[in-house]
Amino acid sequence: MTTGPRLDEILAAHAGRDGALLPILHDVQAAFGCVDAGAEAEVAKALNLSRAEVHGVVSFYHDFTPSPDPRPEVQICRAEACQARGVEALVLAAEAAAGSRVRLKTVYCLGLCSVGPSARVGDTLHARLDEAALVALVRGA
C-alpha cells in the first residue's frame, strides 16, 4: 500500500510549490518503487487535480511505473554512440545473465558516449564494458 503517513510527508514537503507534481512523483517512486492507483488518487486530491490528470502524467514518463518490481535493475545504454562501440553484441549475454532475477532496462544515453558501452546501476555508472564486464555487472546487481 503506497498511501499512509509516508505519502502524507512527501505531500507536505512539497506543499505550496509551483509545479509540484513531478517532484512529488519522483519522491513517491523513490519511496515506494512505483506510483500506483492509490498514490495517484492521494496526489490528485492534494493538488486539486483529477485522477485522470495525474494518471496522464504518471503514464507519460518512463521513470514512473504503475506497480513495484523489487528486482535489481541494470540500465544499458543502446543509443547510437554506444551502438557504434558495439553494445548490441553484448545484449544477448546480458539477457542470459539477467534471467528473470535482474531487470534489464534499455536507456538512450548516459552521457558517456566516448567511452561506451555504458550502463547504470542505481547512481553508479560503468563504462568501457565488454561482454565479461557487463555479465559480471548483471550477476552482481
Partner: protein
C-alpha cells in the same frame, strides 16, 4: 606532500577514478578532485605538477609517483588535443575544483555578472546581440533576439529556464559543464535574469544525470548570496527525450505531460506558467559570463565563420580512438575532427558514417568530410549541427538498421500530440523491415478493408515501398509539430542515400 589532481566527473568515475584517487590518498598524497579536461580516452587522468598520466588504474600509482610510468603523456596543457582547442566556455575544464568558490573567483568568475549588474539591462542584451551568440541547444536561434523579446514583453513575472535535458546520443558537453563548472552556468543565468528582468530561474536536468543534479544543488547552495535577488531551482526530468523540446519542457516543469505546445505563442511571450520566459541551453548560458567580460563580446564575434560566431564545444563520440570534448571556433572540417583530432576509429577499421547533431541529425559519408562546421553549411547539406555531437561508425555498421533505429527511437519518444510522428514513426520502422526483408508485401488487414479505396489490393513491389518511404518522410518532415517527428527523416534519408546496399537487395 605531492598534490594529485583527478577528475570527479561522472565519466571519470565510470572509468574508475574513485579507486585511483583512493590509492593515491593511501600512498600519502593530497588528492584534489577537479573537473575533467575532456580527454576521455585517458580517463581516469591523473595530474601531478602539470604532468598527465592516463588512463590510470590503482596499479599505476607507484610508477606514477616514481616518475617511471609508461602512462605518462607529458604536460597536459601542451597535449595536442588540448593545445589545438580554443576554450572559452570550457576555459576552466581540468583546472579548477567544481565547487570551489575560491577557484572560481580566481579564474575570472563573477566578473561578467558584476559588470553586467553595473550596466543598464538593455546594454547587456545589446552585448549578447553583438557577440553573435546563437542557441547551442540545436536550433541556433540568436540568443540576443530571444532575450530582447522577453525583456520587452509586458509582465511582472518573468523566468529564465535552462534546458539541461541533453538527450542526444553523442553529447555530453552540458553534463561536463554542469559537473565541472556549475557556477559558470549560474552566473550566466543571473546575467540573463538581470538583462530580461526575471527574478526566478529553473534548471531542468534529465534524471539520467544524477551527478550533475547533485553538483548543481550544491553550487546553488554555495552561491545563493552571490546570485541574489535571483533565485534558481533544479527540476529533474523523468526519462522523456521529448522534454528537451522547450515547450514540452515548460509543461513538464509545470507538472504536466511533456507534450509539445503549438507555437505561437512563443515561450518568450507566454512561457512558464504563462509568463515571458527565456529558454536557453546550458552551453548558451554558460557562454554568457565570458562574453560579458570587458571586450568579451567582440572577441566572440571575431571567431567563427559567416553567421556562426564564436566557439562550439564539439563532442567526439562513438567508435573513435580519441573521444572527448573539443571546443573550437566554427569552421573546422568534419574530416579534421574525425581523422586528425579523433585519430580515426577505435577499432582501427575504416570510417563508414558519422552522425552529427544527435538522433535527429543526418548520417554523413566520408565523401562529405570537407564540410566546415557551421549552421548554414550543414543546413544546406540537409544535415544538422544541433548540439554539436559527432558519432563515428566503422565499416561494420549496418546503416539500414540505423535508419530503422531512427524510426524506432522516434516511436519510443514521441509525445503523441501529432499524427505524422506518432503513427509515422511506427509505420516507418515497419516499412524499413519490409524493404529489408526483400519480399514484395501483400496488403495488410487495414489495406484490405473495403473503405480503404486507395490502398493497393495487390502486393507492393520494392520500388513502391521505397516510394511509400519517401512519402512518409515528406509527410513527417512537413507536417510534424516539432523537430522530433520533423527531423527523424534526416538520418533515414541520408542512410538510404549513401548506403542503399544496406537496405537489402534490388537497389
Amino acid at each position: 606532500m605531492t598534490v594529485v589532481r583527478i577528475s570527479d566527473d561522472a565519466l571519470a568515475l565510470a572509468c574508475g577514478a574513485d579507486a585511483v584517487a583512493e590509492a593515491f590518498a593511501k600512498a600519502g598524497c593530497t588528492v584534489e578532485r577537479v573537473s575533467s579536461w575532456g580527454m576521455h580516452w585517458l580517463e581516469p587522468l591523473v595530474e601531478v605538477d602539470g604532468l598527465g598520466f592516463g588512463p590510470a588504474t590503482p596499479v599505476d600509482v607507484a610508477a606514477i609517483l616514481a616518475g617511471s610510468s609508461a602512462k605518462a603523456i607529458g604536460p597536459i596543457a601542451d597535449h595536442p588535443f588540448i593545445a589545438r582547442q580554443q576554450r572559452l566556455t570550457f576555459a576552466r575544464a581540468g583546472r579548477t575544483r567544481p565547487l570551489s568558490l575560491d577557484d572560481y573567483a580566481a579564474t575570472g568568475g563573477w566578473a561578467g555578472l558584476d559588470r553586467a549588474r553595473r550596466m543598464p539591462a538593455a546594454d547587456v542584451v545589446a552585448e549578447i546581440m553583438g557577440s553573435g551568440l546563437r542557441g547551442r541547444g540545436g536550433a541556433g536561434f540568436p540568443a540576443g533576439i530571444k532575450w530582447r523579446t522577453v525583456a520587452e514583453a509586458p509582465g511582472a513575472r518573468k523566468y529564465v529556464v535552462c534546458n539541461a535535458d541533453e538527450g542526444d546520443s553523442g553529447t555530453f558537453a552540458d553534463r561536463m559543464l554542469m559537473e565541472g563548472d556549475p557556477f559558470a552556468l549560474l552566473e550566466g543565468m543571473a546575467i540573463c535574469a538581470h538583462a530580461v528582468g526575471a527574478s526566478r530561474g529553473y534548471i531542468y536536468v534529465r534524471s539520467e544525470y544524477p551527478h550533475a543534479i547533485a553538483k548543481l544543488n550544491a553550487a546553488i547552495g554555495l552561491a545563493a548570496a552571490r546570485l541574489a535577488p535571483f533565485v534558481v531551482e533544479v527540476r529533474v526530468g523523468a526519462g522523456a527525450y521529448v522534454c528537451g523540446e522547450e515547450t514540452s519542457l515548460l509543461n513538464s516543469i509545470e507538472g504536466k505531460r511533456g507534450e509539445v505546445r503549438a507555437k505561437p505563442p512563443l515561450p518568450a511571450l507566454e512561457g512558464l506558467f504563462g509568463c515571458p520566459t527565456v529558454v536557453n541551453n546550458v552551453l548558451t548560458l554558460a557562454a554568457v559570463p565570458h562574453i560579458l567580460h570587458e571586450g568579451g563580446a567582440s572577441l566572440y564575434d571575431s571567431l567563427g565563420v559567416a553567421r556562426s560566431k564564436g566557439t562550439m564545444p564539439i563532442q567526439i563520440a562513438g567508435n573513435v580512438k580519441r573521444g572527448g570534448l573539443f571546443e573550437t571556433a566554427f569552421g573546422i572540417t568534419l574530416g579534421e575532427l574525425v581523422n586528425d583530432i579523433a585519430g580515426g576509429t577505435a577499432s582501427g577499421r575504416p570510417v563508414k558514417a558519422v552522425q552529427v547533431g544527435g538522433p535527429l541529425g543526418a548520417y554523413l559519408h566520408p565523401d562529405q568530410f570537407g564540410l566546415p562546421f557551421d549552421y548554414e553549411t550543414y543546413a544546406a547539406a540537409d544535415a544538422l549541427v544541433g548540439h554539436g555531437g559527432i558519432v563515428v561508425f566503422d565499416d561494420s555498421a549496418d546503416m539500414g538498421a540505423m535508419a530503422r533505429f531512427a524510426f524506432q527511437f522516434c516511436a519510443a519518444e514521441s509525445c503523441g500530440k501529432c499524427t505524422p510522428c506518432r503513427i509515422g514513426a511506427v509505420r516507418g520502422a515497419e516499412l524499413i523491415d519490409a524493404i529489408r526483408s526483400g519480399s514484395p508485401r501483400g496488403p495488410d488487414a487495414v489495406e484490405r478493408a473495403p473503405q480503404m479505396h486507395n490502398a493497393p489490393k495487390a502486393g507492393r513491389t520494392r520500388a513502391e515501398q521505397l516510394g511509400l518511404l519517401e512519402d512518409l518522410c515528406d509527410t513527417m518532415q512537413s507536417a510534424s509539430l516539432c523537430a522530433l517527428g520533423g527531423f527523424t527523416p534526416y538520418p533515414v534519408r541520408s542512410a538510404l542515400k549513401h548506403w542503399p546496399e544496406d537496405f537489402g537487395d534490388g537497389l
